[in-house]
Subunit: 189 residues, 2 copies
């Protein structure tokens, strides 16, 4: 149940088995159906999710009803509506399961308690932030001045599993292109 999480934590830092136990006790396992909303648009986010199985998606709705995919998370990754989680403002985005999931949930209170209490968990949080920042930066740069084909090549190079796990529609809305364009340029590869 906690093996993936254990791997995640111990890969980044050293920590005793006893401390690990304490950390695990804050993570509650839950199971979800497909297309289940974990965080609603208007709510304030108070949980962090770790994915044991399945995948999640952060997205918004445009005024015309179409979706804008912001982020995808898969097995072994942490995921939440981070800006809302950090600053306790309404999420202004949806977090939804893409498929049936097995998740480990930790409350915001417990999460920051662990950050304060365990240096290993504090570095884990800093690493999450650092990586989140770097990933976001790279994504900006892959958008700036790149055409649809270059964006597609970028995602294939940087997140090779991505196109295999999500629908064309979701992928297109993540890359900021229309599904038809994505369909067309895929045949150009």
């Amino acid at each position: 149940m906690y093996s993936l999480l254990k791997k995640y934590i111990t890969e980044q830092s050293t920590i005793s088995e006893a401390d690990l136990k304490l950390i695990f006790s804050c993570f509650k396992p839950i199971e979800t159906k497909r297309n289940e909303i974990l965080i609603d648009f208007d709510t304030i986010c108070n949980n962090y999710y770790f994915i044991n199985k399945g995948s999640l998606r952060l997205y918004t709705l445009n005024t015309d009803g179409t979706e804008n995919s912001r982020y995808f998370a898969f097995e072994g990754m942490f995921c939440t509506a981070l800006p809302s989680f950090i600053d306790q403002k309404p999420a202004a985005e949806y977090l939804k399961t893409i498929e049936k999931c097995e998740l480990l949930v930790i409350s915001r209170t417990d999460f920051y308690k662990l950050v304060d209490q365990f240096p290993a968990f504090d570095s884990l949080y800093k690493r999450i932030l650092e990586l989140g920042f770097i990933t976001a930066q790279q994504r900006i740069y892959s958008f700036q001045g790149n055409n649809a084909l270059e964006k597609l090549k970028w995602i294939i190079k940087n997140q090779p599993h991505f196109l295999l796990r999500v629908s064309n529609k979701m992928a297109a809305s993540y890359l900021g292109i229309s599904p038809s364009t994505l369909s067309r340029i895929k045949s150009q590869l």
Copy 2:
């Protein structure tokens, strides 16, 4: 000399005057000319810069020689090529002064020493990362599915000083549109 930095630190957390002195002693004041390169494309970044006066820009060069502006920093802000600073890889971007500057420089070694030594500085670093992440996210979302006019409105709303401080050319390359388009849509406002 250190008043802006003091304001930055004390706004986020409480810290003794003595500790502040120790922190300040790690920051070395320097003056630069306009268009001075602080971090070169191929180098590994080992400094963090705090701006007392002036402004900095992070950018890359495209294959065709045009520039791609990534980030602008002004008075009272920290700035560096963060991915390189964090992971000690070649910067793959330029950090350059836009105008004559007065900066406070801290080495990477000293920076992380302060993070380890002073809880106040540790939270400052976490806050830099959190804000960096949130800002980057917002920028991605302002790109996704927005046309040139909407991007311009977004930057005016979210960084009102921006257009007053940087050239049209730089602003356009930041927004991912051509200078002519920026010029045209500005007259539509």
